[in-house]
């Protein structure tokens, strides 16, 4: 085994060097590989026995939504060091934007593809709208403002019935269509899956390129030491605003996909739990590492939606009264809680730590007092 590893070491070093130079290509190769591998893995016994291939592909697609949300939130938390606790609001805005212009509610049916971009723009717009006044405040006040925003948006969606359908939300949202070639349906999960993979590749590429750009370096500087960054000529407010806008744009972008995939949007889908799950995924995966947080979110979703559910059915088969009463799904939030606390105490850098130093976690004496 060790000789085998040794044999491939030069090759690995070369491929690593190559993909470090060509990250966008690396992302493409990785996404294609994963995209092909996942459905195959889902056929292997322990997974294959749980549910059908189509069900798995469907689950992967939804897990991808959460992965992208985590990647977007990671731009805000991991890159720029701002805590956003109302991230689901931007996700909601994207979804509602599409649902309003592509559902029987107003009987408007705009095409899906341009709306992806519009959703992202609307997200970014609200990000700037919320961020511009509040980003001047330091630190955890921002967390509270975003939390408040995250609360306001569902309340508004719930109460503005003439536009949002109130509690019921907007149903019958149009599915994407590639004219003359393909119509997306609820029965066939594959088109959505492929689209999701394309979106992941796109978002990942954008995020990596941003990280390597002047903007990304400014984020690093602002996160590590705002005062030093400012005195080195970084416009910290603009820089933070960019992070906020990019994060919100990704949420809006994914929100459009989410609305088309579920064909319904309702205020209940965008509660605080969604924001907090995204934060949990970012913390668990490793703040600042886009791949890490994506994997974190992917795994969290699969565990909660498939394995905990399966655990329920499994336990129901044994006739142990005490265990049967327990709904393991209810445990997911306790697990979030425990994970958040333990990760912060024991491994604050996450499972897949970012390569770049994040002082926020390593330097125990520094930081805000």
């Amino acid at each position: 085994m060790s000789t085998l590893t040794a044999r491939f070491a030069p090759l690995r070093a070369r491929s690593n060097a190559y993909f470090a130079q060509h990250r966008s290509l690396g992302v493409l190769v990785a996404v294609i590989t994963i995209g092909v591998a996942l459905p195959l893995i889902s056929r292997i016994p322990p997974f294959g026995d749980l549910q059908s291939m189509n069900a798995w592909v469907n689950a992967f697609t939804i897990a991808g939504i959460y992965a992208l949300l985590a990647v977007g939130l990671n731009v805000v938390i991991g890159f720029a060091g701002l805590l956003d606790l109302g991230y689901a609001a931007f996700f909601a805005l994207g979804g509602y934007t599409y649902a309003i212009v592509a559902s029987p509610f107003f009987d408007i049916h705009l095409p899906f593809w341009p709306m992806l971009i519009v959703g992202a723009l609307i997200g970014a717009m609200f990000g700037i709208f919320l961020g511009a006044p509040t980003l001047r405040l330091r630190g955890d006040y921002l967390a509270i403002v975003t939390l408040g925003f995250g609360e306001i948006v569902p309340i508004v969606l719930l109460n503005a019935d003439p536009f949002t359908g109130g509690t019921n939300g907007l149903g019958g949202v149009d599915k994407p269509v590639i004219p003359g070639i393909l119509e997306f349906t609820l029965i066939n999960p594959w088109p959505f899956y492929v689209l999701m993979m394309v979106m992941i590749a796109l978002v990942m590429t954008v995020v990596f390129r941003l990280q390597d750009s002047r903007i990304g370096r400014a984020w690093d500087a602002v996160r590590e030491d705002e005062l030093a960054a400012e005195s080195s000529g970084v416009n910290t407010v603009i820089s933070k605003l960019q992070a906020f806008a990019v994060g919100a744009a990704i949420a809006g972008f994914v929100g459009v996909f989410n609305a088309a995939k579920l064909t319904i949007v309702a205020p209940d889908q965008f509660k605080f739990v969604v924001s907090i799950s995204a934060v949990a995924a970012v913390v668990l995966g490793g703040m600042g590492n886009p791949v890490g947080v994506a994997v974190g979110a992917f795994v969290i979703y699969l565990v909660q939606s498939i394995f905990l559910k399966q655990l329920n059915t499994l336990v129901d088969n044994f006739n142990i009264p005490v265990l049967q009463e327990i709904d393991f799904l209810e445990f997911q939030y306790v697990l979030y809680g425990i994970v958040l606390v333990l990760m912060m105490l024991k491994r604050p850098q996450g499972i897949f730590p970012a390569k770049r130093r994040i002082r926020i976690f390593k330097d125990t004496v520094g930081g805000a007092k």
Partner: protein, 337 residues
């Protein structure tokens, strides 16, 4: 908490008359706008928010942590109060015998406050103290984690339902002023909350421990050099803050007669808003903010915007943070915002 001590004399004189005048004016205005019964409602709700807000503001004042779990400590307190009333006191409804009622209420308040104070201190010891020197983001995230754990412990043991709380203090007792009915319960609730606030204010301004808390809030390192035991002081802050949340929990139970495991999130958020509105770190401001938020909420409901109450409160928070991040009364911690 670190109230301005060395202000110019003229300012102090102005402050002495200005603030009470504004408050009296505001209360009179609200009384006129809302009518007596809604006014009492708002005052009672305000008392609960104020008690919770005090815990937020004290903890933020001393370690600059938004103690996310604080709202859930309040929620747990409502359930502890159920346990105390039913199990310890064996009461499930109104106690009509006056001496028994007095003893029951004293036991109920004392036990709940003590239990919650210990819970709060335990949370501090396990989840926040290890991160004392870590940057802000880390304890904030553990606080969110603790909040989730508390909610789900209750959901697991009690279930996700709305649970009834025994209302030991009869809701029937009332007298009338002119046309309006004044329930004694409201007066009792407002009275006990104000009593606790006065005690807290005296404790902070007059005792040695209170002084230690104030100096720690001002400058932790310097007070450590002056011989203040920082860890002990912070723990006491958590004990007091959580104890007040315990009292708020009892009051909520007595007044509303029900509770559920998600209670803490919304109330906590509003109480935090109250703390920010009053000037975070400032105890008097937190109390003031609590009442203000309650008036906004009750007022919104009275004028037919009940469903928008939450949105209005949080919009107020955003507006306040933008234009006056130091809050109504301001404080020395405000400039760090």
């Amino acid at each position: 908490m670190a109230t301005a001590t060395g202000t110019v004399r003229t300012e102090r004189v102005r402050g002495q008359f200005f603030l009470p005048a504004v408050i009296t004016g505001f209360l009179a205005l609200m009384l006129g706008l809302l009518g007596f019964e809604q006014f009492l409602n708002a005052m009672t709700l305000g008392a609960i928010y104020a008690l919770i807000a005090l815990g937020y503001t004290m903890v933020y004042g001393i370690i600059e942590l938004i103690n996310f779990a604080h709202g859930d400590v309040f929620m747990v307190a409502t359930f502890v109060s159920i346990a105390v009333s039913t199990t310890l006191l064996g009461q499930t409804g109104a106690v009509l015998d006056i001496p028994t009622l007095i003893i029951s209420l004293i036991v109920l308040f004392t036990v709940t406050i003590v239990v919650m104070a210990l819970v709060g201190a335990l949370i501090e010891r396990l989840a926040y103290r290890p991160l004392r020197n870590a940057p802000k983001l880390a304890p904030l995230i553990t606080a969110i984690g603790v909040s989730f754990i508390l909610q789900n412990i209750i959901q697991f043991f009690v279930g996700p339902y709305i649970t009834n709380v025994p209302q030991l203090f009869s809701t029937q007792w009332a007298f009338t002023i002119g046309e309006s009915r004044v329930p004694l319960l409201n007066l009792f609730v407002i009275g006990s909350a104000l009593f606790l606030m006065v005690v807290l204010q005296l404790f902070i301004s007059r005792t040695k421990t209170g002084r230690a808390m104030r100096t720690t809030a001002m400058d932790r390192d310097a007070s450590s050099l002056m011989g203040v035991d920082i860890n002990r002081t912070i723990m006491i802050t958590f004990l007091i803050g959580s104890g007040l949340a315990g009292a708020a929990g009892v009051i909520h139970g007595l007044y509303y007669g029900n509770t559920t495991f998600t209670l803490g999130f919304q109330s906590g958020l509003k109480a935090f808003t109250a703390a920010v509105l009053g000037g975070i770190g400032n105890t008097a401001g937190a109390a003031l903010g609590g009442f203000l938020i309650a008036f906004v909420e009750v007022g919104a409901a009275a004028f037919g915007f009940g469903r928008w109450g939450g949105a209005i409160v949080f919009s107020l928070l955003v507006v306040f943070l933008i234009f006056r991040p130091t809050g109504l009364l301001g404080s020395s911690t405000g400039d760090r915002a």
